[in-house]
């Protein structure tokens, strides 16, 4: 039925994006991508957001993808435009986020001649993309990015290809079903049904365990296995640990929720891991920030590991029962296979290890107060996007997440500067909800130019800056492990209230706890973007902390001087 049209490569690219349901793209024009930008105004279905730096385009696309589960798209020109995407793509790669990057490239006859703004972006992004290629079927690229374990895909489109006219037939219905299987991408793990005997084996271990734990990670969010995980926990009474990227996969208020494990996990959570005789890990990769020194990780526990990616099984910790498969499907099978049980004695034992957080805070503007005030001022539907550093840990530990996938952060790569641009992506994905970008003064200054994007595009992100005048987490490491030599960690900030004013948005500085409620109420009520700076204790630390290279049994729980006698 469809009639062939003579279209340019750029026009075809736009058409395919629309046909694939893309409604928002983030980008920055330049020489080698100009044909694409020339075609774009004819495609009203796609909203293009002009960022102020291509890194922000990649993070925004990532935020959009994490919030929707659909492809997030960013566009850049060749050379510097493409290289500026690199950090964002590496971030998406580490956290399994489906991002499509489209880069312009110099015309094919110029390639390899060191042409103006030419760079080998395929070579550069090879290890940080799930797939990349010159030109390509855009549909297949999207399929690869979103199927199986998601990840970023980059397509590099030479300018002459964007200009070249060719016949195009729109595809619809069945014809649109493109599978990455056509492109020989891990065909075997994607639709794998977990073997029955493995599931039964796991169920037997669960029945026999005296100190079982569930550890859930990002895979639960990616597969939407919330109900299945909850049913597994409730049927067996097993307490649930959520990794940094697993936060909000299980309600914090649930009586079976224990907290976050690892380097800054609470003492009772880590001790539970060290005493557990069974760990059922779902959709997590036993990252070193979670396990501490793997030689001493969970020494008494047999590990059941459910993951979509076979290469994750046994990568960091030995696994007794590997179950390769989608977290949702595999957990559902496990729920059906397990016998109901309770773990009251074990939970009581773990709760007995819980202790009051060491208050190392001078003044009343504590992270606890700030996080509680942000929560109290936020409407019920609110997503928190955090940056990297001390504030990230405080928010992860203190914010009472109730709804699934409402905590978005750069976990694997630990990308400072992530929060502000990623929050823009989240906001356009969830226009009806509040979105807070919470950063430190270091990370905020890495991408604060994006306030201009928010203003121009009316993206109502609320920004919180935890200002302690230091690169706080690095300073904490210097204090603990480098003899207190604060090398290059003091950081000056501009006047954030004036900065907000310069961008034409409201800004507040909060220095006392008594100001929290009124300021956050006003910031939340703003129809557009708003900025709130919290002037916090300069040398506050995140406790507890497992020193790098130590096991989960060796937490630092107080200032080093006080801890010296322990």
């Amino acid at each position: 039925m469809s009639v062939a049209e003579l279209l340019s490569g750029a026009q075809i690219l736009c058409r395919v994006l629309v046909e694939e349901g893309v409604d928002t793209i983030w980008g920055y024009p330049g020489g080698a991508i100009m044909p694409f930008y020339h075609a774009l105004p004819d495609v009203p279905e796609i909203r293009h957001v002009l960022v102020r730096h291509e890194q922000a385009a990649a993070h925004a696309a990532d935020g959009y993808a994490r919030a929707t589960g659909r492809i997030g798209v960013c566009v850049a020109t060749s050379g510097p435009g493409a290289t500026n995407l690199v950090t964002g793509l590496a971030t998406a790669h580490m956290d399994s986020s489906p991002v499509l990057a489209i880069t312009g490239q110099v015309p094919r006859p110029m390639m390899g001649r060191d042409a103006f703004q030419e760079t080998d972006v395929l070579g550069i992004t090879l290890p940080i993309t799930k797939h990349n290629c010159l030109i390509s079927e855009t549909r297949a690229a999207i399929a690869i990015a979103t199927e199986g374990r998601p990840g970023p895909v980059l397509i590099d489109v030479p300018k002459d290809v964007q200009n070249q006219k060719t016949e195009y037939r729109p595809v619809s219905g069945v014809g649109r079903q493109v599978s990455s299987a056509r492109f020989s991408l891990t065909p075997d793990t994607q639709h794998l049904t977990p073997p029955d005997d493995r599931v039964r084996q796991a169920a037997r271990l669960i029945a026999a365990a005296e100190r079982p734990l569930l550890m859930v990670g990002h895979g639960v969010i990616l597969s939407g296995a919330y109900d299945e995980v909850r049913r597994l926990a409730e049927k067996t009474g097993i307490p649930v640990i959520t990794t940094l990227l697993g936060i909000s996969a299980f309600p914090e208020s649930h009586p079976l929720h224990l907290g976050m494990p690892g380097m800054h996990g609470e003492v009772h959570v880590n001790r539970a891991i060290q005493h557990a005789d069974l760990i059922v890990g779902i959709g997590l990769r036993f990252d070193d920030r979670v396990t501490g020194n793997t030689k001493g990780f969970a020494p008494r526990a047999a590990i059941v590991h459910i993951d979509l990616d076979a290469s994750e099984i046994g990568k960091n910790v030995p696994v007794a029962v590997p179950i390769v498969g989608d977290a949702r499907a595999a957990t559902a099978r496990l729920v059906a296979a397990v016998a109901p049980r309770r773990c009251e004695a074990w939970i009581a034992e773990v709760q007995g290890w819980a202790r009051q957080r060491e208050e190392s805070y001078c003044g009343d503007l504590s992270p606890e107060n700030i996080v509680a005030a942000i929560h109290d001022a936020a409407p019920d539907r609110c997503t928190i996007v955090t940056d990297v550093g001390q504030h990230q840990m405080w928010v992860a530990k203190l914010y009472p997440y109730r709804r699934p996938n409402t905590h978005i952060t750069s976990g694997g790569l630990g990308t400072m500067g992530f929060a502000v641009p990623a929050a823009m992506g989240v906001k356009l994905a969830r226009p009806g909800e509040a979105v807070w970008a919470i950063s430190g003064d270091g990370g905020f200054q890495m991408n604060m130019q994006e306030i201009a994007t928010m203003v121009q595009e009316r993206i109502a992100v609320k920004m919180a800056v935890f200002n302690n005048g230091y690169l706080g987490m690095v300073r904490q490491w210097q204090q603990f492990f480098h003899g207190g030599r604060y090398s290059a960690t003091p950081i000056w900030s501009p006047d954030y209230v004036k900065l907000a004013d310069a961008y034409g948005i409201p800004g507040w500085r909060v220095e006392r706890a008594s100001d929290l409620e009124p300021v956050l109420a006003r910031a939340s009520a703003q129809p557009g973007p708003a900025l709130v700076e919290f002037v916090i204790e300069q040398e506050a630390n995140v406790f507890p902390m497992i020193p790098p290279g130590a096991t989960l049994s060796e937490p630092i729980e107080a200032e080093p001087a006080a801890a010296a006698g322990d």
């Binding site: 797939h131 374990r149 492109f183 020989s184 991408l185 290469s311």
Partner: protein, 160 residues
């Protein structure tokens, strides 16, 4: 332990680049690499001989297996199969020593494949050690040039 990793790739340099990049990233002690046509059009075969323990080899396989452009990946210990490389050696051969060269070639089951004036190009397939022994045997003639391929390998037992 020497392990042979045998990969079928999409026949494009990006796929090869990705596979080799994964090996480089893991900093594995690679003994040899060989790239050639695969079993079907559009395929390439990459054979890697790597000296590492079983667990590392297995983890590497899983990583390789999920790369875009890698169609299949199998591995086996070299001792459970055969691994052979090809050598081409150009030696100086005055006519009076021609018979002597043929004797050496006979001993190693090597073949003279080209005979430029006063020279010969000899071809030999064998294990790395066998090829080295042959090269040593040819040294008395004077080796002008030589080139060796990486090893290709097949398992004797069915690969897992």
């Amino acid at each position: 332990m020497a392990q042979a990793l045998s990969l079928l790739l999409d026949r494009e340099l990006l796929a090869l680049n990705r596979a080799v990049g994964e090996l480089r990233r893991r900093n594995l002690p690679i003994e040899s690499l060989a790239v050639g046509p695969g079993d079907a059009p559009g395929q390439a075969r990459l054979t890697v001989i790597v000296n590492t323990d079983d667990a590392t080899a297995e983890m590497t396989m899983r990583k390789l297996h999920k790369l875009s452009g890698v169609q299949s990946a199998t591995r086996f210990p070299v001792r459970d199969g055969v691994a052979r490389e090809l050598a081409l050696v150009k030696v100086r051969v005055p006519p009076e020593r021609h018979a002597e060269l043929l004797d050496v070639c006979d001993m190693f089951k090597a073949t003279v494949v080209a005979e430029p004036p006063e020279q010969a190009i000899v071809q030999l397939a064998g294990t790395g050690a066998f090829v080295l022994a042959f090269v040593r045997a040819l040294e008395r003639f004077g080796i002008l040039e030589m080139t060796r391929s990486g090893a290709v390998a097949l398992p004797c037992l069915p690969a897992e």
